[in-house]
């Protein structure tokens, strides 16, 4: 048999990666306390710094609970993000300082991807960030990248929690402190840890009513003095309870029904227009994952976090990190400064190796979340949605059922569930996602990633730590095709784009191999 080989490949990525549209020495993503401190420190040392932050976020994303769980409790002010800019600057004086120091500050700008050369990705001339605003996307090359992307909300659902009025503590902070655009009046807060206490104090300080703090464990878990101070202000601390259902009307939540965990038939009712989830926050590690940085599970720092040295260095030489995205509980300002100094040193610029103080470990966040999830599951049952976007109930998740719209049922599939799957090897959330579609939705699993993992652990009776994180991939913000589209694609890409590998011999009919018809088709090239 004679071997017919295709022409040399001109369709591979080699030589097609465009030079970035812009370039910066140091790029900082996230303009919270950590990112601002990093940008300021780097600018003071004379570095050329670009600081990126997505706030004020476009109304479309706010409506999708991206990046935080706003729960439909933003005022109409968020409809005009350009008018919120001033408010955002006012709320964050460090941004102004960065600006004064010559930092190139970009607000309402999403970093939707980030890449450095590494295994499986060669040929980049520099590290690259994918950026976008509401109308277009572009690329920014960097020498050093500092990620200070903060934390997002942890959502645990209950009946009725997919209606307006159920929101996260991070979103509450963003709407109150950053935007001055919170539409609620009276809150029930879930959790009694430091996050819940922060949320309650924030709300009270802004003249809102806090009806109660609800706790699944038998007693409040946070600082007793702060809990007592809240109680003295009329906030009820209701332990041993979890939400059974949020009641609602046309504007969303009007009340919350609680179940007594020890005696689930006993209910309590709270009048409120907002239920604020403050059981936990999740370090925002999306870009670390896209970059391929090493990560690890640190339950006393909030969950999956990048592996970061004391100076903020990650497993990737050109990437540094600071603040909540490296784990909850650090001093964000101190960490931001340290990360900037480490980045500067790595560029050969003089900067002291002054390290931030060691962070004392916080409580075991995973154990706490698991207690909540267990109580919610046992009181609320299997009908509650585990994934809102894809309409997957807890029961369907635990039974590993294919989505309802397939209308599929068979004895074979009825015999399958998480337990049988676990017999084939350790459970994997990405596998469950593919089978049930839980976490496959448009919110990019921000509302369900953690609770699906918790439900899997409970359903299969395995430790929550054993469930691997479902990976994050670009784009880390759900942006339209028209925005992400490369409007000014390099000619090399446009001319040598092939639907597959462009191996002509691959597409020649078997019967024609070795015949005159093969030669004819080789001459004609690929059909499309």
């Amino acid at each position: 048999m004679k071997l017919t080989l295709p022409a040399p490949d001109r369709f591979s990525i080699a030589g097609k990666t465009a030079t970035p549209d812009e370039r910066a020495e140091i790029v900082v993503i996230g303009a919270g306390p950590a990112g601002c401190a990093a940008a300021i420190e780097a600018a003071k040392a004379g570095a050329q710094v670009v600081l990126i932050d997505e706030n004020p976020v476009a109304p479309g994303l706010i409506g999708m609970d991206v990046p935080l769980q706003y729960g439909g409790r933003a005022t109409p002010a968020v409809q005009t993000p350009e008018r919120l800019v001033e408010r955002v600057l006012e709320a964050n004086p460090a941004l102004g300082e960065a600006f004064e120091l010559g930092v190139d500050v970009r607000l309402s700008t999403y970093a939707w991807g980030a890449w450095v050369n590494g295994p499986g990705l060669r040929g980049l001339a520099t590290g690259i960030i994918g950026l976008a605003d509401e109308t277009r996307s572009w690329t920014l090359g960097f020498d050093r990248l500092i990620l200070a992307t903060g934390a997002r909300d942890l959502n645990l659902s209950f009946a009725g929690s997919d209606q307006p009025g159920v929101m996260g503590a991070q979103a509450l902070h963003a709407l109150i402190a950053r935007y001055g655009a919170f539409a609620g009046r009276r809150l029930a807060i879930l959790g009694t840890g430091s996050l819940a206490l922060d949320a309650a104090e924030l709300a009270l300080a802004h003249g809102l009513e806090v009806a109660a703090l609800v706790e699944a464990r038998e007693a409040g878990v946070g600082d007793p003095a702060r809990l007592a101070a809240l109680a003295a202000q009329g906030v009820e601390i209701i332990a041993g309870h979890v939400p059974l259902a949020a009641e609602g009307g046309p504007d969303g939540v009007t009340g919350l029904v609680l179940a007594n965990i020890a005696a689930p038939e006993r209910h309590r009712h709270i009048d409120c227009d907002t239920v604020c989830l403050a059981i936990g926050a999740v370090p925002v590690i999306e870009l670390f994952d896209v970059l391929g940085a090493k990560r690890t599970l640190v339950t006393e720092r909030g969950g999956h976090v990048p592996v970061v040295g004391a100076d903020g260095g990650t497993s990737l030489a050109e990437v540094f990190a600071a603040g909540d995205c490296t784990g909850l509980g650090s001093d964000a300002v101190e960490a931001g400064g340290a990360a900037a100094r480490a980045a500067l040193r790595s560029l050969g610029r003089p900067a002291e190796a002054e390290l931030p103080r060691l962070v004392p470990p916080g409580p075991d966040a995973l154990a706490y979340q698991l207690d909540w999830a267990r109580a919610l599951l046992s009181t609320g049952g299997p009908e509650v949605l585990a994934c809102i976007c894809e309409d997957v109930t807890r029961g369907e998740l635990l039974a590993v059922q294919p989505p309802r719209y397939l209308g599929w049922s068979s004895n074979a599939i009825a015999r399958r569930d998480l337990g049988t799957l676990a017999e084939d090897g350790p459970l994997d959330q990405d596998q469950i996602k593919r089978l049930t579609r839980a976490c496959m939705g448009a919110c990019q699993a921000r509302r369900c990633r953690e609770q699906v993992a918790l439900m899997m652990a409970l359903g299969a009776g395995v430790p929550a730590q054993s469930i691997p994180l479902a990976g994050y991939r670009a784009p880390v913000r759900p942006l339209p095709l028209s925005v992400l589209a490369d409007a000014d694609e390099p000619a090399a890409m446009a001319e040598n784009w092939n639907v597959w590998f462009g191996i002509v011999t691959q597409w020649i009919s078997y019967d024609d191999i070795g015949t005159e018809r093969e030669a004819e088709q080789l001459r004609a090239g690929m059909p499309y």
Partner: protein, 390 residues
Amino acid sequence: MAKSGSSVVVVGGGVTGLSAAWWLARSGVEVTVLEKGIVGFEASGRNGGGCTHYQSPLFHEEQRLWPQMDELLGYPTEHRSGRIVFQVDERKANFHEGLAMRIPAGYAWEVLDGKQVRERVPLAGDNAISGVQLHFGGHANPQRTSQAYAWAAQDHGARIRQHVAVRGFEMAGGRVSAVETSQGRFGCDALVIAAGPQTGQLAAMLGHHLPMAPARAEMIVTEPLPLMPMGGVDGHGLYGRQTLRGNLAYGGGPHEWYDDIALESPPPRPSGSVLRGLAKRVAELLPRAAHARVIRSWAGVIENTPDGRPVIERLSSPDNVTLATMSSVGFGLSPASGHAIRDLVVDGVCSFADLSKLSLARFAELSPDWRRELNWLPPETAAASQGASR
């Protein structure tokens, strides 16, 4: 030659190995699949789901089987029949002429003008210039299909062992008698190697040169949109489909060649570097979907032989080994490739197709420098950005 009661080990839990296991198990053969990760977690669960491969000797069997697969397996594959391919670039207006040379007789298809395309593809726009509708072929959900094979094989008694990496073979009397793995030794009467891009490395351990090169390819997926009457719609340098949930899932464009990949650990699969090129083309192909939000991308690592054609062969020595690599178009053909492998293992010959032209022997004279000559090389890393990992 493997009779009922004898045991076959299949290396690789992708669609090729899983389908083979299912076919073998259905024939009463005792079979064990050894998969270093999770079933269908590599290319088999990351592809475009296309099931329309008229170039292949397995084509007729592919077309015969797909419409029955849900029922045969007992699990959903989301298979749907038919495809529309259309173009929006003047230079490709007559692409159907190229197809006419290739589509075998007996399969119905028609040429569409721009207006007909718009009537049949609600998300298409004024720029649609010409298309074809195939009344054969189709698409399925790769992830669901991979798991369906695994479960169906189990239902017929097959054992699926995940997280078991094969690292060598034990020989006795000129045949492979056992497989060495990260989890110990598995005895076997016959062996199937269907390890995707790693098939070449494993074949080399048995003294066979199966030239292959791994590469990474990417896809993107949007939020769900209202369902079009037909989901199997592509063209304009893209392959893909609208899923039954309504998401648009498309791939195409540049691949990245890898030097090699590890035998026992998963390959790196960074994604996103072709995302903007894909987004641009999906928005051009389906302008009425331009507003749709992209919610994910992914990459898969694929095998390719130098001529891009499969190898599906029962070796003569050791004669109880069957090699199978589909050379980057193995999802759609999997119902048929598994059948062919079953036949080779049990009967020594494929009952429904001639596979002789796909023999390994064709590579006997291949230049050792073939990857360089074909330009199948990883991009060079610019010196300035050698991102040393710490």
